[in-house]
Assembly symmetry: C2
Homo-oligomer: 158 residues x 2
């Protein structure tokens, strides 16, 4: 597969107590997004007025050969029907990026303290922004049953 | 500014009636995300069971020199206090990407028909996934007043 490529920057890294990739038990995890020193501090001015962030990060422990183009059962569990690469939220997608919406605790210099960021230690961060209510999904949200079944322990504390 | 760079793929393009960048009046806009032909159709299998998507795209009309590292008043309006690069949601951020949450209308072959996608025609798409309720912001969301003031006409129909 050869797709056109774009170049995107690393603006920071995650400092987390979680060093290993895990499917579950992300509840209550506190971590830090540390901005790279090349970026001035006033790029974060006013961030602390928001309760949540939207963070784009690279699944840096994934290998290019982990990319899977097709349909698979979620978590390889045949109980759930196979769904496509773009219907999951994992490292098998071409971009190998994740997007999370952690709670912002505080900003201290270039350290952004957050809760519920499901990214392991040393994860490169590509972008971050506040969560703006106006830019979330509009109208009633619907989804099938399998994500709820699959994610029963996702936010359980370890 | 020299930041470490990552390489991310283009998985599709936006086909939209909106050719020009606009701050407002995105309400009701219908567009298509067309997957590149290199990607097999079963990467989308099961997507149509979800009501909304999360779409990552490149602000491809922006220039590298548009990046602004510091604090600015939203939309340059001095009525609002300056806030930092990462507190906005525009093309002045280092990654020059946007993230939107359009409503999914239907999937037809490699065409994903959506509503409320605030990206202009020919926008390169880097990634897409369903909107999973479980991965949205957890707990009460708070934000300052300025985004609501600024975005009064964002979703107004043109």
């Amino acid at each position: 597969m050869t797709l056109q490529q774009l170049s995107l920057p690393v603006i920071g890294h995650v400092i987390s107590p979680r060093a290993e990739v895990s499917d579950d038990y992300w509840g209550g995890v506190q971590s830090i997004i540390r901005l790279v020193p090349e970026l001035p501090l006033d790029t974060l001015e006013g961030l602390d007025a928001f309760s949540h962030l939207q963070v784009v990060f690279k699944f840096h422990l994934a290998q290019p050969e982990d990319i899977h183009l097709g349909a698979r059962s979620p978590r390889g569990n045949p109980e759930w029907d196979p769904t496509g690469t773009f219907v999951h939220r994992n490292h098998r997608r071409p971009a190998q990026i994740g997007i999370s919406h952690p709670r912002l605790i505080k900003v201290e210099g270039r350290d952004i303290h957050v809760k519920d960021l499901d990214a392991v230690n040393a994860t490169p961060v590509i972008d971050l922004a506040p969560w703006f209510e106006q830019f979330g999904p509009r109208g009633a949200v619907q989804q099938p049953a399998w994500p709820g079944d699959m994610l029963g322990d996702y936010w359980t504390a370890q």
